[in-house]
Amino acid sequence: MAELNIQELERRFQEKIDNDIRIEPNDWMPERYRQTLIRQISQHAHSEIVGMLPEGNWITRAPNLRRKAVLLAKVQDEAGHGLYLYSATETLGADREETIDDLHSGKAKYSSIFNYPTLSWADMGAVGWLVDGAAIMNQVPLCRCSYGPYARAMVRVCKEESFHQRQGFEIMMKLAAGSEEQKAMAQDALNRFWWPALMMFGPPDADSKHTAQSMAWKIKRNTNDELRQQMVDITVPQAEMIGLTIPDPDLKWNEEKGGYDFGEIDWDEFWNVVKGNGPCNKERVEARRKAKENGEWVREAANAYAAKQKMKKAS
């Protein structure tokens, strides 16, 4: 077969994408597409895994057995999500453990929301409701992403996510309908998580350097601001319904645009947390690094045992 020149390959590639034909692992793809995907999917995977920590923080203190089981199952799901996503990066030729090492060295990023501490039981409600809520909003469009393994992982993830948000909202609902202390606890959690949750969609479109190319490649299907607006519009009535107040004095329904106007996000805080200065950045990465380090001898032993068994079988 005649060697196709790179322009022709790229043209055919983009044509496939434009026709909504999925790209599969061994298909030709531009190197930048591969690299962008590896970065995006592994960041997403890291977020799932680091995201286990703030909620894992309350498993042993959950207030009753039902909540304990639900929270355990929820955090476990996040480990699963991380795993599906790391698997997707491996189809692109990225090695899982190397990808993880990048997280531990600080080279790779993860969602900055997980650098905030969970200080009360109500935070389990706020995280499920807002953080998983925002994640779902981000992820549903990715089920149609151009890269097959990523899209399929997202389908699986989204199916599992739906209970995460509900259990969080249920916690909030119960607290909001509870005693004065419980109500205050819920409101305080909403106050602390509202703005960081809106930051989860990333910087404003005007400052987002990857958006245009990623949209053309269909590895991103909506802009940051579109999704953020959607989140606000959906969440505000939910908060009202259970009697909690969104901590934004500028929040106002805008009849003309059919959505809410909302206050200025503190992007300095966002960039500060991204740079590593959030309340828990150090602890989160440290916890993951330790887990890997403490598991080293275990993984080594399992390999050694497997090798011995193979030898035995062969002889």
Binding site: M52, L53, I59, T60, N64, A291
Partner: protein, 249 residues
Amino acid sequence: MNTLFEYLVRLGDDSLILGHRLSEWCGHGPILEEDIAMTNIALDLVGQATSILKYAGEVEGKGRSEDDIAFLRYEREYKNALLVEQPNDDFGVTMMRQFLFDAFRKPLFEQLTQSSDEQLAAIAEKSLKETKYHLKHSAEWVIRLGDGTDESHDRVQSALNDLWRYTDELFFTDEVDADLEAKGIIFSSEELKASWSEMVKNVLNQATLTIPDNGWQHDGGRRGLHSEHLGYILAELQYMQRAYPGMEW
């Protein structure tokens, strides 16, 4: 004394406290796949604790729910075996603790499926399926670690040496057991110990581990005399219920 209630609390507390210990691993496992596996076992144990303590509340007949029993007793009223409250330490200790416990619970639930108490038999039936898997998982790990590298062998051998002193207590019996055995609700603890010993010997042998001399054996858990570890477990477990008494979550 309501012997069935007492027995159910012992049974349920084993699941509750070991489930608590295992859930401490969530997010910190040696590899992602094993993190998920340990959480599954923890979930099974929390589920067992829920159904057993719920039944205990019914048997007691004082209107206590499974949550009242799980979260609102004092230290001396918890009746789990000392083994399950021992700290996780490293993965070797956790898996050895799990194996020694699973090897006891599998034959126990096998027996209890024959219980004259239908509710207990039903709980045992469901728990047995879960426990068979737990045992397979923990036994395989003990073998892998024992027969893995020098380091893993030493670690898991020292885990075995440290935990061995808590194993006899699993077969502890007193007037509670005697009464229930007479009623056909539970069965011989000697038979239990025999199946346990056989399983343990077999697996430790494959793992190239040495069974420690049967030195001093601790007990007390079944009578509510615990190690210092339990108090800290309860401080976390009960935090919300104690800080916000009488509220719903």
